[in-house]
Symmetry: C2
Subunit: 145 residues, 2 copies
DNA sequence: TTTAATTAAGACAAAAAGGTCTGATTTAGA
DNA sequence: TCTAAATCAGACCTTTTTGTCTTAATTAAA
């Protein structure tokens, strides 16, 4: 499971925001870029897309930046990934056929479907709250790559 | 799980060869290219790599082409994929950290490790024989994309 | 020995992904 | 009202991936 750089940058950025003290409002993108070592202008574009998708909100000007647009419990990991990699990222055929179709399966279909359902279940259950809590309580890695 | 075009072309090509009648020796790349609708010269390069890796053998000249270098039961799907996507394709961190490390886990580590072990187990069990048999006996799709 | 069929090699091009830069716009606060 | 700090917009560049083209080398068979 190799996500694109865009996707990894996006996930790490929202995790960074999600683990900030609640009294903070907008977080400057420059801060996220520096802390996570993500190219600033590239990150700006990625976050603009996330804002357009409704995951985060942004504010220009002094004291501006980004903040989460919903409670962390409602920011689902699978949804964020799919908004970047494409809606059918987790539903496609593992051998690359046009559509994963039980009525016209490929040679790995049965075995793959079982696994990809687990992946979707797992990522569908995880949201920014569960991840942020784990990061904070267990001191999990987020800053270094 | 999105494999690169290189990888998908490679898998489909060896599956095509593996499902040919046993009396056929070398299969021309042009035939594979046409049947599977894969760009000929691109496929040539991909198959050259597979030949260098020892999965297939090639012969130039008239009556030339490629054939499998080992019995189908010894041509493992995971190995083929890893030879193209990289040895650590299935072992990396889902959040893109430098190394998936239980001693320094990311926020999805525990959940992801369980799934990726299943993926590795599944692909490690599948080989050209199991896939070819399924394709032939059940008439599974291989030609169209 | 010639010819046709084939892979090998490598230059090149096109498309996609990743990244940089400059300037415009917006905002809070001095 | 001015200024500094920030996002937004879009042109541009670089790298990787994907694909094309031409030519050389090899092989079987006429
Ligand atoms: S058809 Fe290939 S995975 Fe379902
Ligand atoms: S450290 Fe991220 S999956 Fe293991």
């Amino acid at each position: 499971m190799i996500f694109s750089k865009r996707c990894l940058h996006a996930l790490r950025a929202v995790l960074y925001v999600g683990t900030q003290p609640p009294e903070r409002d907008y977080i400057p993108i420059r801060e996220i870029s520096t802390k996570l070592d993500i190219p600033f202008h590239f990150l700006t574009k990625i976050l603009k897309d996330l804002a357009d998708q409704g995951f985060i909100e942004s504010s220009r000007g002094a004291a501006g930046g980004i903040r989460l647009a919903k409670p962390t419990a409602e920011l689902n990991v699978k949804e964020i990934i799919e908004s970047i990699e494409g809606e059918d990222y987790f539903s496609g055929c593992i051998l690359g056929f046009s559509k994963c179709d039980a009525a016209n399966p490929c040679a790995l279909h049965d075995r793959w479907v079982a696994i990809k359902e687990e992946i979707q279940k797992m990522l569908g259950e995880e949201h920014l709250e569960s991840l942020s809590t784990r990061i904070q309580e267990q001191g999990l890695r987020l800053l270094e790559m």
